[in-house]
């Protein structure tokens, strides 16, 4: 028994050692995998909602933007961002109707007179869906899988592996269906409340759906008996409502390829919304297919298995591990743009002009929660592109004095390229206007907030936390959005000044802040009873490792004007309820542009959007009549000098009232390897992978060159270990045999 076990050990151990040694390599892929025309990347957060109705986060958008094609999109190369049709034949002009339904000419279309706005969208006829089992129908029009048993489905980990699949042309009703789905209360679309204000009949539609759902559920519950568990029943047997049943004037299908959207008011931004996946097409077949109990039981749903017309389809979706997008063979004719922004041609971005898209066959995204492994894999060549985490910045970037950032020599030698782009994003530190200390429009309160702004020098912040990657903000509108003013004219006169030598905005001297504190009634930061003014930073940053450092930085900044800052941390839900009830003082927020329009930033401070009073997105609860009036005027206005003037005015008001400390506009830096081409950062849509290409041969060669294992070190370590153990063993052997 003893001997046998040892025998097996003797045989198995060397085999195991050999096997392990042979597989020692830091290559995370299978042999040959990187030789294909495949793009390798990582993702940090698992996408949870891929339904175009409810997906909102960028890591979800990065996937479904490539699958669902809304009627319009943005030009890949041109800046400022320019709308182009995607599945539509053209960008439709708005048709303004008055109260009587008569068409108003453009010149008469004032906000007051316009009662309806219509956009008629005409689709391209050559667009087909990806191959998908939901289109596999019997001659009677039922799904082929309608009666499938769970065991029939079990072998397949994705609908794209089903044996029988089919396709069909894209039709206008698919778009109409999706617009109606935005009103489904179950899907809780994040944009519903916004667009319901504009699209006619949207609110009524949601009410109709709510009633339908309640009726259907009551019926099921009564039939389900005592132990009826609604959640489990609906998971096993999804509740389908007939989306098309209620009347909905907001979106009408005119023919197979034409549909019309009707708005109740002028809202040119609707076209931007219609560049998003929320307005993509969803086929009724897919909804029916995912309602088949066996399919639902296998965890397939629109949330996990999208059906679209885009250049890629979702091949593998294991959200905690691996996401693979493969080229859609049914993808409609689509070509690389022939013109771009100035400089694009020189950058080689037009080399593929006019070529059929897409280039890359497959995109492989692997889960990588930690930034460091992800970065290391990029350095090793196993990931094609990487954003640069701030901490590795020094390693990658050399900032030559006064010039643009360039790559470090080591990176340069590896042939990497650096791409920078200011993001259409804003970070700010909000003051709660419902708070008795920091809120309110009284001049001394404004001065307190201005003083705080001066004390928090975001140029320094960027140095400390982002290695200078970013632009200290002067107001709520980031660069790249209409209304942003660069240089001296953009200076926030209350807190900043233009340093022409360094070519950037710098905070006013701290003495000014101290002066403002005196004017605000807090000389040296002391309250009336002599104690230092203590403010509270509310946050839900429990999971952010850098929060502590940020807090300390803020505390130190405010300490300069005698203010004490304390943190009040809670979990997210309590933080939200604090926000909803207005029981907070200071907190930090960020906003990423939905679309390139100043309205998308100003509305965050629009009084009627107040969080506490109206449940809107204006978390500051800032309500200034002056600002609100200006906002109403510029909200739906077409870009032009008139709008610019209004924006400048509004900007001045909000800078004076300082409902927030404008922190900074982040700059995204990304590094790409030399084998990854046609890369130009795009802020508005993720449907750009179709333009990019990889050179696998170069990649394989360089990966091999960069990643030779260092066996020598291991060998030396083993030798040392043996050297330590050997004398002892010899001594024991001798002692056993020779006696004491």
């Amino acid at each position: 028994m003893q001997l046998k076990a040892t025998g097996i050990l003797h045989a198995a151990l060397p085999a195991l050692v050999l096997l392990i040694t042979a597989s020692c390599s830091n290559n995370p892929y299978r042999p040959g995998e990187t030789a294909e025309s495949t793009y390798f990347s990582t993702f940090a957060t698992p996408p949870t909602k891929l339904d175009p109705t409810s997906a909102y986060y960028s890591h979800e958008g990065a996937i479904i933007d490539q699958i669902y094609e809304p009627p319009f999109t943005y030009h890949y190369l041109k800046r400022p961002y320019e709308l182009i049709p995607l599945t539509a034949t053209a960008i439709p002009p708005p048709v303004y109707l008055d109260a009587d339904g008569a068409v108003l000419p453009e010149t008469d279309a004032t906000t007051e007179r316009v009662k309806r706005v219509q956009y008629t969208i005409n689709l391209r006829p050559d667009i087909r869906y990806q191959e998908h089992p939901c289109f596999a129908l019997t001659p009677t029009g039922d799904s082929l899988y309608a009666d499938a048993a769970a065991s029939d489905i079990a072998p397949y980990d994705s609908p794209s592996r089903f044996p029988t699949q089919s396709s069909r042309p894209l039709m206008a009703r698919d778009y109409a269906l999706q617009i109606r789905r935005l009103a489904d209360p179950r899907l809780a679309s994040p944009i519903f409340s916004t667009i319901a204000r504009y699209i006619e009949g949207m609110t009524e539609l949601q009410e109709a759906y709510t009633t339908m759902l309640a009726e259907a559920r009551d019926a099921r519950r009564d039939a389900g008996g005592l132990t009826y568990n609604q959640e489990q029943d609906e998971k096993a047997n999804p509740l389908v409502i007939d989306y098309m049943a209620p009347d909905f004037p907001g979106c009408v299908v005119l023919d197979d390829l034409t549909y019309r959207i009707t708005l109740t008011t002028k809202y040119p931004q609707i076209l931007y919304w219609m560049c998003m996946h929320f307005f993509g097409p969803v086929p009724q077949e897919a909804i029916d297919f995912y309602a088949i109990p066996a399919v639902a039981a296998a965890q397939f749903s629109l949330n996990r298995c999208p059906v679209g017309t885009g250049p890629y389809f979702l091949d593998t979706f294991r959200p905690n591990e691996l996401i693979v997008l493969s080229q859609n063979p049914n993808y409609h004719p689509d070509f690389y743009p022939t013109d771009g922004a100035p400089g694009d041609e020189a950058a080689g971005l037009l080399a593929d002009a006019g070529q059929r898209l897409p280039f890359i066959k497959q995109q492989v995204y692997r889960m990588e929660k930690e930034a460091i492994p992800s970065w290391n894999k990029f350095l090793q060549g196993y990931v094609d592109a990487s954003g640069i985490a701030s901490d590795v910045f020094d390693q990658a970037i050399e900032m030559a004095a006064g010039s643009d950032p360039t790559l470090s020599p080591a990176m340069d030698a590896k042939g990497m390229r650096l791409l920078t782009d200011i993001r259409t994003m804003l970070w700010w530190t909000a003051f709660n206007f419902k708070d008795d200390v920091v809120g309110g429009l009284a001049p001394e309160r404004c001065k307190l907030r201005q003083a705080i702004t001066i004390a928090l020098d975001y140029n320094e912040y960027l140095d400390v936390f982002a290695n200078g990657r970013g632009l200290a903000a002067q107001g709520p509108i980031p660069p790249g959005i209409y209304g942003y003013r660069a240089g001296e004219t953009g200076t926030n006169p209350y807190t900043d000044t233009w340093d022409s030598r360094r070519a950037k905005h710098v905070r006013l001297p701290i003495e000014k802040a101290k002066q403002l504190m005196v004017e605000a009634g807090y000389p040296e930061g002391r309250t009336a009873d002599g104690q230092p003014l203590t403010l509270h930073l509310d946050h839900a940053a429990g999971l952010d490792p850098q929060f502590r450092a940020r807090l300390q930085w803020m505390q130190r900044g405010l300490d300069r004007i005698g203010i004490r800052l304390k943190e009040r941390g809670t979990d997210l839900s309590r933080f939200r309820s604090k926000r909803n009830s207005g029981e907070w003082q200071i907190s930090s927020s960020g906003w990423l542009a939905d679309y390139p329009d100043p309205e998308n930033f100003f509305f965050l401070f629009y009084g009627p959007n107040g969080k506490v009073d109206h449940g809107g997105p204006n978390t500051c609860n800032y309500a200034s009549q002056e600002f609100d009036d200006l906002f109403q005027k510029l909200e739906t206005m077409v870009n032009g000098p008139e709008r610019m003037a209004l924006i400048d005015q509004a900007m001045r008001v909000i800078q004076r009232d300082a409902p927030a400390v404008w922190q900074f506009y982040p700059v995204s830096f990304s590094l790409v390897h030399q084998w990854y081409g046609n890369v130009k950062p795009h802020q508005m849509t993720y449907n750009v992978m179709r333009y990019r290409r990889v050179a696998p041969a170069t990649r394989v060669e360089l990966q091999a060159a960069w990643n030779q294992p260092r066996w020598k070190v291991v060998a030396v370590a083993l030798l040392v270990l043996v050297g330590i153990c050997l004398p002892g063993s010899i001594r024991v052997y001798r002692r056993e045999r020779s006696g004491a």
Binding site: I372, D391, V464, R501, A528, G530, R548
Partner: protein, 373 residues
């Protein structure tokens, strides 16, 4: 002067209470010859003496960090700040600890951002502007060159200061939790083992239920529900570790109650509470002590893991766990920023290693069954 005296307070009464009670128990025990001789045996080895010294040092720092006072407020010109109307000297409502006072030279040495241990210049490059308006890229000099023994962190705090401030958190997590646990564990364990029957069944049920939940998951659930914080962490760690000690004490009580001296007391008609607390509990104290010392180190290590998962102490509390958590990002730099991690590591090992060594020695001395030859 009296005003100054009035401003002293126990910053966290907890630590003082812990130390006080421990000292009291210790002095009680030391009056007994058994313990004295055990301690003599424990302290015979030099390594243990060193360990005990280090532990005492840590404790002292934790105590210093728990004696708080309100420093008087000072104006910009360092004059005492007085109440605008009454003219009384005003004191800062935010207390400082005695340790803060001692460490003022350290804590006051702020830099802008990272600097390496004993470096003269900042770790990161910046665009520098000289008087003529020329710009160069370089390492700006530090405000306190070559004074940071362990460097500075991202926002320019002295890392040594942070590591020292972490001691109190570690000691509270290790020590306070233990103190929280012990009375309950003794009461329930001894009661269950002594009375047996349904009392035993009930107590066993409670601790089986508690211990059957994986402790990390229970801690996580609790922390999510009740929010992050030192107190919560101590309470839930106490709840999870209570069961182990209780189980051991119950088992030991079951054995002890069959011993002849307990039988003798019973035959004598000695009351049950007296038997439990005079005869059984003193004979369990060595187990309690050993468990306390050995689980102490486990908790200090657990805090690091919990902070890593993001459910440790709150953001305002300096702890080694959160220092490690901060350091994760810094490790990817090239050249690597190692000092924060190393500082947390050294201070943690500096506490855990002596605690383990001391616990081992205690066990060897007090628990003859486990004595090795």
């Amino acid at each position: 002067m009296t005003a100054l005296l009035n401003n002293w307070y126990a910053k966290d009464a907890i630590v003082l209470v812990v130390v006080g009670i421990m000292g009291w128990i210790g002095s009680l025990l030391m009056r007994r010859e058994v313990w004295r001789s055990a301690m003599r045996q424990v302290f015979r080895r030099r390594m243990v003496r060193i360990s005990a010294f280090i532990l005492a040092l840590y404790t002292l720092i934790a105590i210093l960090d728990s004696v708080g006072y309100h420093p008087p407020l000072r104006d910009a010109d360092h004059a005492l700040h007085r109440h605008p109307e009454t003219g009384r000297v005003l004191y800062d409502q935010d207390g400082k600890s005695l340790l803060d006072l001692i460490l003022t030279p350290l804590s006051a040495m702020h830099e802008k951002t990272y600097s390496a241990p004993l470096a003269a210049t900042q770790f990161t490059m910046e665009t520098l502007y000289d008087d003529e308006g020329n710009t160069t890229r370089g390492y700006p000099p530090l405000a306190h060159p070559r004074r940071h023994l362990l460097g500075t962190d991202r926002v320019g705090n002295d890392v040594l200061y942070l590591a020292i401030k972490g001691i109190r958190t570690g000691m509270i997590i290790g020590g306070f939790t233990t103190l929280l646990v012990i009375p309950f564990a003794i009461l329930f364990g001894v009661t269950a083992g002594y009375f047996r029957g349904w009392v035993d069944d009930a107590i066993q049920y409670v601790y089986t239920v508690l211990s059957s939940i994986p402790s990390l998951l229970l801690i996580i659930s609790f922390m999510i529900v009740f929010g992050r914080g030192l107190t919560q962490l101590c309470i839930i760690m106490g709840i999870t570790s209570w069961t182990g000690l209780c189980r051991v004490l119950r088992g030991e009580t079951l054995k002890l109650r069959e011993l002849e001296y307990v039988q003798a007391a019973e035959a004598m008609g000695v009351s049950r509470p007296r038997i439990m607390f005079q005869h059984i509990v003193p004979n369990l104290m060595h187990i309690v002590l050993i468990t306390a010392v050995l689980s102490f180190s486990g908790r200090v290590l657990a805090e690091a893991v919990l902070s890593y998962i993001g459910i440790g102490v709150g953001a305002a509390t300096i702890s080694w766990g959160s220092m490690i958590n901060d350091a994760r990002q810094e490790l990817a730099r090239d050249p690597i920023i190692w000092w924060k991690l190393v500082a947390a590591f050294v201070f943690m090992v500096g506490l855990v290693l002596p605690a383990n060594l001391f616990g081992d020695a205690l066990r060897d001395a007090l628990d003859p069954r486990l004595r090795t030859e």
